[in-house]
């Protein structure tokens, strides 16, 4: 085994320090490098094509670097929060604080939309209240590391932070409302008839070196899967930056267009895209005069609500409960959009 391979396994702490140093150095070098590269190309920097190229050459490595770092850290964090442990933390919680806890755990617990059903049943079986289960199920896909990394890279930390806080708020409130509606009768019968399960946590002895390996695995899997979407999204974004006139979007998605928020949500719900493809395009729209609230609402509805997810959930929920779920979450997102457009 070569030295570079041995480092993360044998001295994981040292590896983390070295990796962080190398990462920061690479990040600092990006802007000068992209400028230098653009200058090497036979196009003028001040032309539209030059501007689009520089944006493309700077943003792709920047976003991929940020994504790799965030996914790596989240891969390590995920190894502390297994679904079993999260379930044990939530079983028998009172509503209110339980919703807050569930939404927060939704960020750090590894989650996959194809595991939504087993997770849902497992939670309900172990006595996690329905509303709290929903808070978790709404926050887990919506506030995810890929979305946060992209927002951080393309919009800056303020908007990434806003998305995090508002995503949590939508998940907490929607879950709480669904809990208040007492819709347990709208679970499919076979789910209600499942024998109750005890929420137990297996003993785990995961070493730091194994967590580092989990981080690598997450980067391989997630970055390996989403990078083509990011490159395509940034290419479209760069074209919009270079060629679409300023304020073009103001008339369609601007602040003064009251109907733009509901339309953005309506378009967003059936769309099934991942954060990776949608965020770079949204960033370019924002630069061309679209309002931030409208854009955030669109992004949240694309990521949080999707047709395939409804179809999966149909196996465990009856239609009135699915409809309520969509209506409550869409209303929350709508509120986020309007509040933002009004405040900013």
């Amino acid at each position: 085994m070569s030295a570079a391979m041995a480092l993360p396994r044998q001295w994981p702490k040292l590896f983390l320090v070295v990796a962080a140093g190398v990462w920061f150095a690479a990040y600092q070098l990006l802007l000068p490098l992209s400028e230098a590269l653009t200058n090497l190309l036979p196009v003028e920097r001040d032309t539209r094509l030059g501007g689009a190229l520089q944006f493309f050459l700077y943003d792709i490595p920047k976003v991929l670097l940020l994504l790799a770092a965030v996914v790596f850290v989240m891969g390590m964090v995920n190894s502390y929060f297994t679904p079993e442990r999260t379930r044990a933390l939530l079983a028998g919680r009172a509503e209110g604080l339980g919703n807050v806890l569930a939404a927060s755990l939704g960020i750090v617990t590894p989650f996959c939309s194809c595991s939504a059903v087993p997770l849902f049943i497992g939670f309900v079986q172990a006595g996690v209240p329905l509303g709290i289960t929903f808070s978790f199920l709404i926050s887990a896909p919506m506030v995810n590391e890929v979305a946060l990394a992209l927002l951080l890279g393309l919009f800056g930390w303020k908007i990434a932070g806003l998305y995090l806080v508002l995503g949590l708020a939508v998940a907490i409130l929607s879950g709480w409302v669904i809990g208040r509606l007492h819709m347990e009768a709208y679970l499919e019968d076979w789910v209600r008839n499942m024998p109750p399960a005890r929420a137990t946590v297996g003993t785990d002895t995961v070493t730091l070196a194994e967590r580092v390996q989990a981080g690598f695995a997450a980067v391989r899997e997630i970055v390996g899967r989403v990078w083509p979407y990011i490159v395509a999204g940034i290419a479209v974004g760069a074209a919009i930056h270079g060629y679409v006139p300023e304020d073009f979007m103001a008339g369609l998605m601007g602040k003064d267009v009251w109907w733009s928020v509901p339309v953005a949500v309506l378009i967003g719900v059936p769309m099934y895209s991942n954060a990776a493809g949608i965020i770079p395009i949204v960033e370019a729209l924002l630069a061309k005069g679209a309002a931030l609230g409208t854009v955030l609402a669109f992004m949240m509805s694309v990521i949080a609500l999707s047709l395939p997810e409804m179809i999966i959930l149909r196996k465990v929920l009856k239609i009135p409960l699915i409809a309520t779920f969509v209506a409550v979450v869409a209303t929350g997102i709508l509120l986020v959009g309007y509040v933002f457009n009004a405040v900013l």
Binding site: V117, E145, A214, A217
Partner: protein, 99 residues
């Protein structure tokens, strides 16, 4: 002969798990009886919280994410690996494109 069941509703990770188990068993020359459990009601009787899950000789040994080749080899070799909740540490998502 080891009886192996892969629990999963047919997502990309589930298919990858089935393939990898078959491959590792072939390489090691261990005879296995592989079964796919795809109905969610049947899957839930095993009490897992994330798919894909793997059951070896009636015992759940893994849930969430595609297991590594080393772990599969471990199940096929001794078959006595403890049920580890640490199993889910590599459970990032491989299904159609979320996140």
């Amino acid at each position: 002969m080891k009886a192996i069941k892969v629990l999963g509703t047919g997502c990309a990770n589930c298919r990858a798990t089935v393939q990898r188990v078959e491959q590792v068993a072939k390489e090691l020359g261990v005879p296995i009886a592989l079964e796919k459990v795809e109905e969610i009601q049947d899957i839930m009787t095993y009490g897992i919280l994330a798919t894909p899950g793997v059951v070896v000789d009636g015992k759940v040994v893994h849930s969430g994410g595609v297991p590594t080749r080393e772990r599969i080899a471990g199940w096929l070799g001794s078959g006595a690996e403890p049920v580890a909740s640490a199993a889910s540490i590599a459970s990032s998502c491989g299904c159609a494109g979320r996140g």
